[in-house]
Symmetry: C2
Subunit: 68 residues, 2 copies
């Protein structure tokens, strides 16, 4: 299991939190995801043998947010 | 039919627009609703014989936004 903190721009409200946590959280191999609106970060704990970091970033991007 | 522009705080993204327009737009007596994020306003066209202004404000409030 790996832990990473991604910097993500554009998340502004509770709906954004739900959109990111909901989409990333349902990826197979992701065990936890937590958005911090004030810090503009997303903490993700995942198994790199099951899901790639690129896939996680792509999922956030697909929700309309910019991973930096 | 009456037209009113409400000042609403807390709307920050496309999800907020959907939440407000979706909830107010389905009220019986409301013929149109348009959120302007930049201006922090909600334009509503409604029939006061079918729906009260208080009900419209309460609906926006229920979505988590502050009508001023």
């Amino acid at each position: 299991m790996e832990k990473i903190t991604l910097n993500v721009q554009g998340m502004s409200c509770g709906h954004c939190v739900k959109a990111v946590e909901g989409s990333v959280g349902t990826l197979s191999g992701v065990s936890s995801v937590k958005v911090n609106l004030d810090a503009a970060t997303v903490d993700v704990e995942f198994n790199p043998q099951e899901v790639s970091l690129d896939k996680i970033k792509e999922t956030i991007d697909d929700q309309g947010y910019e991973v930096q």
